[in-house]
Symmetry: C2
Subunit: 291 residues, 2 copies
């Protein structure tokens, strides 16, 4: 399948490269023309003038943009070129509602839509080891398999359009809570002058074990928080979770607490660090160094 | 070393049995004489009339009781029999302060004290696979090794007396947060009608992976929460964490939130279930079924 790619950001660019390696990348479009031209030089892919031109030339289009409004803008820009049977695979993280709206607009053109948000960060995007959480028609999912397999390792279908985004929201809520858990516990450990390295190793063998403790605990030991996953991006995702929960009239306690803490963190941070920098905020409680 | 055991509860009894298997168990004392007599029948160990008699006959005494006051009561009851060089190994979960008070009283008799709280639950106690978090003098720790190795698999020394309890507090804070994370995220997933089994499997391969998701997620899928680790015991441990943090003038947000949620949970639960029953409280937010 001739595949087009829209959105060459820190996730999109390595994902497009993996499509190229799999022999699937046909054309790209980027809001920043320099990014598209750089990929042309590197891969020889076509660079299109706009999303409609790209849609007109491809059997499948992968998009990876920032937020609800960006997705719908790209979909609308694609529509004049969308043909019957074309597959639109959106790897952005948006609300399930935005995915359903995009789906309606894509289906109106006779094309098919899948929401396919990913997890695994820029490292997973580069190595092609992303987890891809899919929502949409089962037959469309089968058609998309080779494209998804070029970008990710764990590919799971969760239900109709929107289910991929709902599953991603579940992941982001869980990561928020585990970040809270590891940050708060290790900040307390620091105040108690415990050897953090030994704690990370020992507690990682019992009921407190987590990927986050094993992989971000060492950041907290050193007090530096290299990326990873930016606080602002997780903040954006948790705001999506907040809106999705609000549809049920629910405020999720962990989500609310983490949004409050991220706001404080971003107000005092010099740069946008990894989400494990929440540890700095928690440690400041013990040193009275809160600002 | 002739080893005595005090406190034959749901943790202590299987731990004492493992000491017997290792040929170390000499004598026991229990507040409930029937428990001690049952172990006599099973193992042929001595049953002592009081902790002082037990202390007088043993080179090492392992205690496993409920809370700060219980520990200090047992230490005081032991003191008339405590001899120079005897090793007191306390496997209860108490505050670090109670451990330091116990240490002072034990040292006054010329004996040595180690705080050795454990994690791994009744299953770990039975199988001898507990993690044992040790605080105390390094030489005393070396003397205790064979006894600890008979009861646990991962044995780590964290510093002076109290450090074992501080490390245990770190573990309990982390478990509270991860329980919050998994419960809240899977309650949201339920409201979104996502397939929970597939979520547990897929999210367990990325940044949201945790022991708790893999081992307690299935409870949440079924809506039944078999033990495990009782809510009331975790509540007691988190109250210890609260007091320990209060020494720094700090209120730990996750600890406070979890204590509030456990209080609500215990007010409505018919029995004392596993801590993963926090999921029931979170799910009730979405069904409007909060009581």
């Amino acid at each position: 399948m001739k595949t087009g790619f829209i959105g060459l950001g820190s996730m999109g660019l390595p994902m497009a490269r993996n499509l190229h390696r799999a022999g699937l990348l046909h054309a790209v479009w980027s809001r920043t023309p320099e990014k598209a031209l750089a990929l042309l030089t590197e891969t020889g892919c076509r660079v299109c003038a706009d999303p409609a031109e790209l849609a007109g030339e491809c059997d499948a289009i992968v998009s990876c943009v920032s937020a609800d409004a960006d997705l719908l803008e790209v979909i609308d820009a694609m529509r004049p070129g969308l043909r019957h049977g074309v597959l639109v695979i959106d790897c952005s993280t948006t609300s399930a509602e935005a995915a359903r709206t995009a789906d309606e607009r894509v289906r109106a053109a006779g094309a098919q839509f899948l929401d396919c948000p990913v997890t695994g960060g820029t490292e997973g995007a580069r190595q092609g080891t992303l987890a891809i959480l899919v929502g949409g028609d089962a037959a469309a999912f089968e058609r998309a398999r080779s494209i998804l397999a070029a970008m990710g390792r764990t590919i799971a279908h969760f239900g109709p359009v929107g289910a991929g985004q709902a599953a991603k929201a579940v992941n982001q809520i869980m990561v928020a809570g585990i970040n809270q858990a590891v940050s708060e516990a290790l900040a307390f450990a620091g105040a108690e002058h415990l050897p953090i390295d030994k704690l990370v190793e020992t507690l990682g063998q019992g009921a407190a074990a987590s990927w986050f403790l094993a992989n971000r605990g060492p950041n907290m030991l050193r007090g530096t928080y290299p990326l990873g996953f930016k606080v602002r991006l997780h903040q954006k995702d948790l705001e999506i979770c907040r809106r999705m929960a609000a549809r049920f009239g629910v405020r999720l306690p962990l989500v609310e607490m983490t949004l409050l803490h991220y706001k404080r963190l971003l107000a005092t941070a010099e740069q946008d660090e990894d989400i494990s920098s929440l540890h700095r905020l928690k440690a400041a409680m013990f040193t009275g160094d809160e600002s």
